[in-house]
């Protein structure tokens, strides 16, 4: 897709747009040819307003009223609300995603590529988006949807292409395939993707983490969490379902990365934390795997670092967690997202922490890497680690959790069942 959008030049082969061979030197050539792309990792300028981001890359005079009207019109058609004069810095992840989509439409694209567009949208927004994509396709446009959610693909696509390890393994009209055959094509073998919960050991009654009447105010004094009390036991997976943004302070609190404004926390000594924004918060892309291994809890080290030992630990994690890399000396940025995440999980679990906190640990990963990550999480649970996992994918929560906490400003506990969680979340939206 990066090739189609002019971000990478192909080594061989040709690209044709409407039958005409083209050569893209940069994304602006691709935009000029009518191709629009909605990126998974946002490509917006935080310090500019919504309207300015839409106008970016255009030519001639910038008329803010005209662009703003255009933003409102397109957003309205999509059933989305966006203030054209808000700075992108102040937008939530889902609003940024909406802006990416609006911008693509604003560039008069005839072919739109969407890379995992639903990852951070609410169910209602996702519905509106697909309605709009359908009417765009009916009016002669083409849509390429990259997704790991098989249901989305099955429900909305006319045709499906499955790529595995850079090869095209399936290309067929959607009516000829079903969920099982799609999953088979993606995995290369039949596998139950929602593997049933198999506990090896019962939940232990030892409390690992306890919060008593904890409240959190943010920098400007707005209450983010109110009077929360909860207990996490050794050897259980506790799912967190939350409206976008609400889980962030709670997870950082549990992982010991943030102090509460009031209330008591009893925390274990060793906590593993896998934050959502991998390239910003958990690894340093320009550092080698070995250096990234040394990064964990590096504040607690003193004196000289024992590099030979860190090298050995890295090699050990790489082999045990099946991290595909040329060597432990490779730069983190040169690994695929799935392998980076496997490495991070291995690093955080390496000293057998009593508590592991995960934030959207499989976001953007392919189905294979996701399955591996899930396996590791279950294994750690069976070995007695207490696990807290937040995921915006309710199916993932339902598949992994022993119980689920639904977080608004207060907390409710539900069964790990997709529909129960969903209803409980919806009841907290207003």
């Amino acid at each position: 897709m990066r090739i189609a959008f002019g971000m990478i030049a192909p080594d061989a082969g040709t690209i044709r747009v409407r039958g005409r061979p083209v050569r893209f030197a940069s994304p602006s050539d691709a935009i000029a040819a009518g191709i629009g792309m909605v990126h998974q990792q946002f490509s917006l300028v935080p310090e500019m307003t919504v309207a300015e981001n839409v106008a970016l890359g255009g030519h001639g005079r910038y008329d803010r009223q005209q662009v703003a009207a255009r933003v409102l019109k397109i957003a309205g058609r999509l059933g989305m609300t966006l203030n054209p004069f808000t700075k992108v810095r102040e937008l939530t992840a889902s609003e940024r995603q909406k802006l990416e989509i609006v911008r693509t439409f604003a560039h008069n694209a005839t072919t739109i590529i969407l890379d995992e567009p639903t990852a951070v949208l609410t169910p209602a927004d996702i519905g509106d988006l697909f309605v709009q994509l359908r009417s765009f396709a009916d009016s002669g446009g083409s849509v390429i949807l990259i997704t790991h959610k098989l249901q989305d693909a099955l429900a909305h696509a006319d045709e499906v292409t499955v790529l595995r390890k850079g090869h095209c393994v399936l290309n067929a009209p959607m009516i000829s395939v079903d969920e099982t055959s799609l999953a088979d094509a993606m995995l290369g073998r039949a596998q139950d993707i929602q593997s049933p919960l198999q506990r090896k050991n019962p939940v232990q009654s030892r409390i690992v983490l306890e919060l008593k009447n904890v409240s959190v105010l943010n920098d400007i004094g707005v209450e983010q969490l109110r009077n929360i009390s909860l207990q996490i036991n050794a050897g259980e997976i506790v799912g967190i379902a939350a409206l976008e943004g609400a889980a962030k302070p709670l997870l950082r609190l549990l992982a010991g990365r943030m102090a509460p404004t009031s209330g008591d926390i009893t925390q274990p000594l060793s906590v593993g934390f896998v934050p959502e924004d991998r390239l910003q918060d958990s690894v340093i892309p320009n550092f080698s795997l070995i250096e990234n291994m040394a990064l964990r809890n590096s504040a607690t080290h003193s004196g000289r670092l024992n590099w030979p030992e860190i090298r050995n630990t890295t090699a050990d994690v790489v082999s045990r967690y099946d991290v595909r890399t040329s060597s432990a000396h490779a730069r983190m940025a040169d690994l695929s997202g799935g392998n980076q995440q496997k490495f991070v999980l291995g690093r955080e679990l390496n000293d057998r922490p009593e508590l592991l906190v995960l934030e959207n640990p499989t976001q953007g990963l392919d189905i294979h890497a996701t399955a591996e990550i899930h396996d590791r999480i279950r294994t750690a649970r069976d070995e007695g680690t207490a696990i807290v996992i937040y995921s915006s994918d309710l199916d993932e929560l339902a598949a992994l959790s022993d119980r689920v906490l639904v977080v608004g400003k207060e907390i409710a506990t539900t069964k790990p069942d997709r529909d129960v969680i969903g209803r409980s979340l919806l009841s907290r939206m207003t």
């Binding site: 958990s282 340093i284 504040a299």
Partner: protein, 303 residues
């Protein structure tokens, strides 16, 4: 003594302040602290060294020298601390504040050499000369080459060793390369560490000023620095922020500037050619680094 040897010694003498201020810049940049204020820190370091050395003239020479060098480093750290505090408390960009502090330091020197520290006859805008015993020893007889080069090389080796081998050095590199990951995964107090690095960077630049006074000029006057603290940025960048490479790029720039003076004297070639060469080198280095980042950025994002 041959003229070639004297010229070589002059190049190294010129390189000493460039190496030390270059190390100050490299240390700060590695930690993501954009200390553009090596010039100002150099100047206050020089002033503090001159002041203590003159006021403590009754002390034994070696003691005076050590106190002068130490007070130069402390003054440099203090000057950096102003910008560091502004950054910590009010989020003032250190790029702006350190440049402003450079000018304040410059005019502070103008004031002291006309006021409290002016030489006894009150004719020239400079301090009296340092006592012979309180000067840095010459290590190559017959030339001006003083022991400052040894100090510069020791600081470079020490910094390099810290970066490579110690936990604190690793933390410094981590907060520069990925501050958020350093905070979240490394549990490092990024603000506090970058504050400390800022002060150490200022201390090294201040030490450079103290060494210049104690080893070369033996007095404080207005134009004691021909922009060492600014050239230092080029020295550090061309060395790729690697402390050992800073020695080489420092000597290179020292030779360039010394050579340019000789060219002007002997062949009437304008010495500004050295400045032009320096600027071209910086542009070439930055362009090369930019190109490399661009190709890495594209391939690095591939999934």
């Amino acid at each position: 003594m041959t003229a070639e040897l004297a010229l070589f010694a002059d190049s190294v003498v010129r390189a000493v302040p460039l190496i030390l201020t270059g190390l100050a810049v490299a240390l700060a940049f590695r930690a993501g602290v954009f200390n553009i204020g090596a010039e100002g820190q150099f100047l206050v370091g020089a002033a503090a060294a001159a002041a203590t050395s003159i006021k403590l003239a009754s002390f034994p020479g070696v003691a005076t020298l050590i106190i002068a060098l130490t007070s130069g480093a402390i003054a440099g750290a203090f000057w950096a601390a102003i910008a560091a505090e502004l950054r910590r408390r009010f989020h003032v960009l250190e790029i702006i504040s350190t440049i402003m502090l450079n000018f304040i330091a410059l005019y502070l020197i103008s004031f002291v050499v006309r006021g409290p520290l002016q030489e006894p006859t009150h004719i020239y805008p400079q301090t009296e000369s340092l006592a012979e015993a309180a000067r840095l020893p010459i290590i190559m007889p017959g030339t001006r080459l003083h022991a400052g080069i040894v100090i510069a090389i020791i600081v470079a080796i020490l910094l390099s060793w810290i970066f490579r081998n110690t936990a604190i050095g690793f933390r410094i590199r981590a907060i520069g390369a990925g501050p958020r990951a350093a905070q979240t995964a490394g549990m490092i107090d990024v603000e506090r560490l970058s504050w400390a690095v800022f002060l150490w960077s200022g201390a090294i630049a201040g030490l450079a000023g103290a060494i210049e006074v104690s080893g070369v000029t033996f007095a404080l006057y207005e134009n004691i620095s021909p922009g060492y603290g600014y050239t230092a940025i080029a020295v550090a960048l061309i060395a790729g922020l690697n402390p050992l490479a800073v020695i080489i790029s420092g000597v290179f720039f020292g030779a360039l500037e010394t050579g340019a003076s000789a060219l002007q004297r002997d062949f009437a070639i304008p010495s500004s050619i050295a400045g032009m060469t320096e600027a071209l080198l910086i542009l070439a280095t930055l362009a090369f680094a930019g190109l490399r980042n661009r190709s890495i950025g594209l391939s690095g994002n591939e999934r």
